[in-house]
């Protein structure tokens, strides 16, 4: 085993935990919202904050660090490669969104739900919508990492951007429909 393959293993493993874990949080959120049980929503909000701080942030940092070391260790990749520039920009966006907003907001909503605040429902729905958009971004990074496009490869870009745009459109449309239906977290799951 080479140092490069070890770093690649760490990189892939951390990305797996980060992305798959993000999807699992969505699913647990949907299940909790469908239960219409405020105490379960409150517990979920606190669990998500715990997991974000102790699992997602370390996993995403390790994915980033191992990715940087992979480029340093590699003889054929460089920080100027188009797909690496794209990945770094997308990574910074999703990491900062999680650190500065999604994680703390989840904790705040957990407390609002426990207090029975009317703000809890709409804010939960907004958080669900934003965290789904974040998930689209993460899958876009995986696409970028596997296809490794350069700026001259229009076909690969179009496929990736079109797929992401469709996913974003569906997510936003479902959010708007849920708002019209009444603005409860349960409506966001329908």
């Amino acid at each position: 085993m080479t140092w490069y393959s070890f770093l690649l293993f760490v990189h892939v493993s951390m990305a797996i935990i980060w992305i798959g874990g993000g999807l699992m949080m969505q699913l647990f959120g949907v299940r909790a919202a469908m239960s219409d049980d405020p105490s379960r929503m409150a517990a979920l909000g606190e669990d998500i904050e715990w997991i974000a701080n102790r699992v997602f942030i370390p996993a995403s940092l390790l994915a980033f660090l191992s990715g940087v070391l992979l480029v340093v260790e590699s003889d054929f990749y460089g920080f100027g490669d188009d797909w690496i520039v794209i990945a770094l920009v997308l990574y910074a966006t999703t990491f900062l969104a999680g650190l500065l907003f999604l994680g703390p907001e989840s904790g705040r909503i957990g407390k609002l739900t426990a207090e029975g605040s009317p703000q809890a429902g709409p804010r939960t729905m907004r958080l669900i919508m934003l965290s789904r958009l974040d998930l689209v971004l993460l899958f876009l990074i995986v696409y970028d990492m596997t296809v490794k496009p350069d700026f001259g490869d229009a076909g690969s870009y179009i496929w990736g951007v079109v797929a992401a745009a469709i996913a974003v459109g569906i997510i936003y449309w479902r959010y708007r429909v849920a708002l019209v239906r009444g603005g409860s977290p349960r409506a966001a799951t329908g």
Binding site: F9, A15, G21, T146, D153
Partner: protein, 152 residues
């Protein structure tokens, strides 16, 4: 974009859903247990009873099919060590997860909801969670094998 790159994207995405989802599901389970609230543990059991067949099972099938397509498109030999280990590992983990753990977890969740928590059910959940964690470790070992590709 080549077909190989497309299948690799699908393969890695499926792996992320299956393994990454499994890890975080374990953390949710640990948090539910640590809360000491039987209702949360029961809800977790029920959630896992539906996440298993509706999320993990399709993801594992996506991983298998895209992996087979990668071998075909990538001109890999079926006798390569990492291919053989991948197929055997997939079979062991899939049958353990979907043939046993998911069903047993669903049954325990149902019993907890109707009978309430008991030391017997608690021990059963603990045993299933331990087995699930071992399977997740096996999956990470498979990721290692896929990345390092020993023998190539």
């Amino acid at each position: 974009m080549t077909w190989y790159e497309l299948w690799l994207f699908v393969h890695i995405s499926g792996v992320a859903v299956w393994i990454g989802g499994g890890v975080v599901a374990q953390v949710f389970g640990a948090l539910a247990k640590a809360s000491g609230d039987p209702a949360r543990s029961a809800a977790y059991g029920k959630d896992m009873g539906s996440v298993g067949p509706w999320v993990f099972m399709p993801a594992s099938l996506v991983v298998l099919v895209s992996g087979i397509l990668l071998v075909v498109k990538g001109n890999w030999d079926w006798s390569e060590t990492f291919v053989v280990l991948g197929l055997v590992g997939w079979a062991v983990v899939s049958f353990t997860f979907f043939g046993y753990i998911t069903r047993a977890m669903d049954r325990v969740g149902m019993r907890m909801a109707t009978e309430g928590p008991s030391p017997e059910l608690g021990a059963e959940v603990g045993r299933l969670v331990l087995l699930a964690r071992i399977m997740i470790l096996v999956l990470f070992a498979l990721v290692f094998v896929m990345v390092v590709k020993p023998g190539t």
